[in-house]
């Protein structure tokens, strides 16, 4: 072996250094473009937001091109503490998180219902998945229209249930109703639930597809063994199938948590945070505060974003910890 490395010394030193350290240098060449891009647009801005949350700033620059921000320390956070809109948003975020979790069991239910092998099943499965593929803007518009008390489904159902149709002598149809139909999106009490229900529609579809793939991979010999032992129905599901669905469940929970905390589109489309801020969540309240008609409040908005980021970070850390455990177990 010793003489095999000897010819190396005859080469120019630069080349030998390069070739000796080839495996240490090469990854950085491959990584550089992605890292630079990611640093500029993602990593940098996170720290900038943290920094900006300590300032009061309307986003403007003076004639010399210097930012007009003034340092105010933690005042933005103090203001947040006394801001009722912030607390409403935070409570709604919790509501979203909790209720959005329904997507996981409901998705599993639909997946179990669809996990059959009759003709045309593939098409059925993909059609059930549809709601996830279309934009949340469109979903928000559809449901906003559904909830409309005058000409939406809710209005029509109400009419059918609580209204008496009378035809007078001239032949005109009039409706006598016991009260007016509920206007879900204008009611501070129910609007958030209405939006969450709309948001669940695509999310259930997402969880369903995760579970369908998961069910596809359940070891059939274990199921057969379970059957021989007399397990069926719930018992089979609980003791044999569910443990094998763990990877699918993990991803379903991850994407549902992220989806719940990221909810923005539906709120912006359906209520814009109203009525009276009752449907705001942190993501939307932040947007509204930072870029509003009443002037931009970049500092205060950043402070809201930092709070949301901190909440998300709890979950992200947990996910990363789980992934790290897997990595250690892997190679």
């Amino acid at each position: 072996m010793a003489h095999a490395t000897l010819p190396d010394t005859d080469l120019p030193t630069e080349a030998s250094w390069l070739s000796r350290n080839k495996l240490a240098i090469a990854p950085w060449f491959f990584l550089a473009p992605a890292l630079v891009f990611f640093a500029i647009y993602v990593v940098g801005p996170i720290f900038e937001s943290l920094y900006l949350s300590l300032f009061e700033w309307n986003g403007l620059y003076d004639a010399q091109g210097n930012s007009t921000a003034t340092y105010i320390g933690f005042e933005n956070y103090v203001k947040l503490w006394d801001d009722p809109n912030f607390w409403t948003s935070l409570v709604n975020n919790v509501l979203w998180l909790v209720l959005f979790m329904l997507a996981v069991p409901l998705g599993l239910m639909i997946a179990l219902f669809l996990n059959q092998d009759v003709p045309g099943m593939r098409l059925y499965k993909s059609l059930f998945f549809f709601p996830f593929v279309i934009s949340q803007v469109v979903v928000g518009l559809i449901f906003g229209w559904f909830y409309n008390p005058d000409f939406g489904v809710v209005g029509q159902v109400y009419k059918a249930l609580y209204c008496e149709e009378t035809i007078n002598i001239v032949g005109n149809v009039t409706f006598k109703c016991a009260g007016s139909p509920p206007d879900i999106l204008s009611s501070p009490e129910f609007a958030t639930y209405g939006i969450i229900a709309a948001g669940l529609w695509p999310q259930i579809a997402y969880c369903m597809i995760l579970y369908l793939t998961g069910l596809n991979n359940v070891a059939s010999d274990q199921i057969e063994a379970g059957r021989l032992d007399g397990a069926k129905g719930w018992k089979m599901l609980w003791y044999v199938v569910w443990p094998q669905l763990r990877p699918a469940t993990f991803i379903a929970v991850v994407v549902t948590v992220i989806g719940a905390l990221r909810s923005f589109d539906m709120i912006a489309i359906m209520t814009q945070g109203g009525p009276f801020g009752s449907t705001n969540v942190l993501s939307h309240y932040m947007y509204e505060t930072a870029i509003s008609e009443y002037g931009e409040r970049y500092g205060y908005g950043s402070a809201i974003a930092v709070v949301l980021f901190a909440i998300m970070l709890v979950f992200i850390s947990y996910f990363l910890w789980r992934m790290y455990q897997d990595e250690k177990g892997g190679r």
């Binding site: 992605a34 059959q116 549809f130 593929v133 000409f151 599901l237 949301l308 992200i316």
Partner: protein
């Protein structure tokens, strides 16, 4: 297979199941069907309150042409394409390179860097909003197509790298090892050995990123102002304000916005689903 295959449960259960399937699907997709039907209604139906019954007249062609002639829908659609396609190209290419580096080389910061990309993918958009908007205004990228696809490409690189790295890690390492012993240069190993093998991952990422970015609404609002650079999602919202109570036109515009990702999904279904499971559920 779980639950028990329905064929084993006798003809009644099987026929019942097969009869119930379309009913269930109908209920599940009712909201979508409602806008599909509404998009071919005439204004008469909308004004008469007939929004769920059978249409009294069919105005498929009229409604869809009205969307294009009475609004900027064509511009919005084109913008969406111009934003989405470069995003896919850039983020997937960068992720191929970065994923290769993180999967193949053993160096101390490989795992922390990998986790950085993963974490970046999960953060709330709002923590990036003010700096990215400010940076775009400063560099003249605000309210432009490029401003949007550059940001999207950078952000989606996180997800793509996560996916690509896991995919490459699952390839047999012997292939790379033996190429190295043969003395093949590192970039050649990437180009000739690894790249041909990651084609399924590239396909999965391409459809997924296409759908994510096509459906983006938040950044469209943060990074644009006028009509010239708005994608279709923000456009549909603008149309909703413009066509007040013209539900047939709003529905038609909404369906137009939904068609490209739906088509993408149908054409590349298998890849799409592989991507959604983050490559973890094979």
């Amino acid at each position: 297979m779980f639950p028990r295959p329905i064929e084993k449960s006798g003809p009644v259960a099987r026929i019942g199941y097969q009869a119930f399937l379309p009913v269930a699907l109908f209920i599940w997709l009712l909201p979508l069907l409602a806008i599909a039907v509404t998009s071919i209604r005439g204004a008469k139906d909308i004004n008469a309150g007939n929004v769920f019954g059978w249409p009294s007249e069919f105005k498929l062609w009229e409604n869809y042409t009205a969307v294009f002639t009475q609004s900027e829908a064509a511009t919005y659609m084109l913008n969406s394409v111009l934003i989405t396609v470069p995003t896919v190209l850039i983020s997937v290419s960068l992720a191929c390179l970065a994923g290769y580096a993180l999967a193949i080389y053993r160096f101390r910061v490989a795992l922390p860097l990998f986790f950085l990309f993963v974490a970046g993918n999960f953060i709330p958009f709002q923590i990036l909003m003010v700096p990215v908007r400010d940076m775009s205004v400063q560099t003249g990228l605000y309210d432009t197509i490029a401003g949007q696809f550059l940001f999207h490409a950078a952000f989606q690189t996180g997800f793509c790298t996560l996916f690509m790295r896991n995919f490459i890690k699952a390839l047999p390492f012997d292939l790379i090892e033996s190429a190295r012993i043969e003395g093949v240069a590192e970039w050649k190993i990437f180009w000739y050995v690894v790249l041909p093998l990651v084609r399924p991952a590239v396909a999965a990422l391409a459809v997924l990123i296409f759908t994510f970015v096509w459906n983006d609404f938040f950044w469209a609002n943060v990074l644009t102002q006028g009509e010239s650079a708005k994608p279709i999602t923000a456009g549909v919202r603008a149309l909703n304000g413009q066509f007040v109570n013209n539900w047939h036109l709003v529905s038609a515009a909404s369906l137009l916005a939904a068609i490209p990702p739906v088509a993408m999904f149908f054409l590349m279904q298998r890849h799409f689903i592989a991507g959604l499971t983050l490559g973890a559920v094979k």
